[in-house]
Symmetry: C2
Subunit: 258 residues, 2 copies
């Protein structure tokens, strides 16, 4: 056995200055997650980690749909402070893969009204099987408002991010959300070949019946059966015109020889 005093190695603080690559990685982790580990505070103050399925609101705010029969729901109602770990993982040492810890405050979303309708629509677009229980009386939506985040890109590549680093511009999010349902349907109906080309030509996915499931200022969500993909936009879109232009440019980029 080697004792730490035998060969102490002093290493430096691994926090790096936040750059565009870190912001892009953080946004992709946030927008790609279908589930995450939620840390809440139990009634005795003891932390508790549990599994939740996820969607994002138009601006990137994480959304959960939870049952009053689950412990974490009562915990969030008693103390809204919580955290989400998004760690998609991959082969080999799990600590070699990028993951992000979000610092959050939970806020119950009323079913009635514009936000409630948008949250329900976006959650079901992302988690279609939740349609089986979304309207059970014991289920509620919570928006998890972002307070900050710690991004870990693997050993020694750590970043501290603000909510602004991760979220989309609020006005742009509202504008895109208003047209989202129609734009998604239009793309899937009239430009199914472009959607497939996004998946195969830009995201190296296997060919198949890829569908658009969501649009927001920072990118597009794609799904095929249980698989999901995130297509980040080269620059944020703010309105119908810039959304249309970006989708068209990406379709051209995805099929360079078409």
């Amino acid at each position: 056995m080697t004792t730490p005093s035998a060969a102490p190695q002093k290493r430096e603080d691994p926090i790096r200055p936040t750059d565009d690559a870190a912001r892009a990685l953080a946004k992709t982790l946030l927008r790609s997650a279908r589930s995450g580990s939620l840390a809440t505070l139990g009634r005795d103050g003891h932390p508790s980690a549990s599994l939740v399925s996820l969607a994002t609101d138009s601006d990137g705010t994480p959304l959960i749909l939870v049952s009053a029969l689950s412990s974490h729901t009562g915990y969030l109602e008693a103390d809204p402070r919580c955290s989400l770990l998004l760690a998609p993982g991959g082969k080999g040492d799990p600590l070699a893969h990028a993951r992000i810890t979000l610092k959050l405050a939970a806020r119950k979303v009323a079913r009635e009204g514009e936000e409630g309708a948008r949250v329900r629509r976006r959650f079901l677009a992302r988690q279609p099987k939740a349609a089986l229980y979304v309207d059970f009386g014991d289920f509620s939506f919570f928006a998890l408002d972002l307070k900050g985040a710690s991004l870990n890109g693997g050993f020694g590549r750590a970043y501290e991010l603000t909510a602004d680093d991760l979220l989309s511009d609020a006005a742009a999010a509202t504008a895109i959300a208003t047209m989202e349902e129609d734009a998604v349907e239009h793309m899937n109906t009239d430009h199914a070949d472009a959607v497939r080309a996004y998946a195969t030509g830009l995201l190296n996915a296997e060919d198949g019946d890829w569908r658009l499931t969501g649009l927001d200022p920072d990118g597009a969500d794609l799904a095929r059966a249980d698989l999901v993909l995130r297509l980040p936009f080269p620059a944020p879109v703010t309105d119908a015109a810039s959304l249309r232009r970006t989708l068209a440019e990406l379709a051209t980029a995805a099929r360079p020889h078409a």
Copy 2:
């Protein structure tokens, strides 16, 4: 949009009485995990979820190896209360798969002494790549002492477990730990065919260079490159004789026509 008041559905408390099948599932989740989501308390009392790689001590107590440069290490030193989510997941809806939330108290393990040596040996057997940093001066082992657990076998199949439901008998764990290193080497050197048969014949794994990496009262840990498997014993073993008998019986069961 359907409002909850439109079709309220009253559902029952999903906690079921703990039975042997629940204990076996919980132990398999605990003993199979290579990583987990750790919920700790930040200095401001805010919960925080982060990724940790895992091993278990001989009795099943989760072990982590963490750097002083990681936030969670300072959090655990300031307040030992923590929780681990073990959620191996699978295809489709993540909430359809079994997972377990452990309620824990972290305790730093001194490098010196019998426990320190055993913890280091078992951790490296489970996480061989950690040899690269295990002796860095900023890394420490923590044992996460079990206080209880919530098992979720999928929708509506929830159980509350005690530490005794999950941990192995302490005397048996000590006895097996003492002979573990020699027994593992003996099996890998002289009975490599039996180890392979455990993987292919009992655990439906693809054939390949499977190696034994650990033995404890409740079962055996197997690994092949980045894959790990857990072979639960039909009944706990308590000493060298019952361990030898169980390993031989399982080898016969794994090769019924040999």
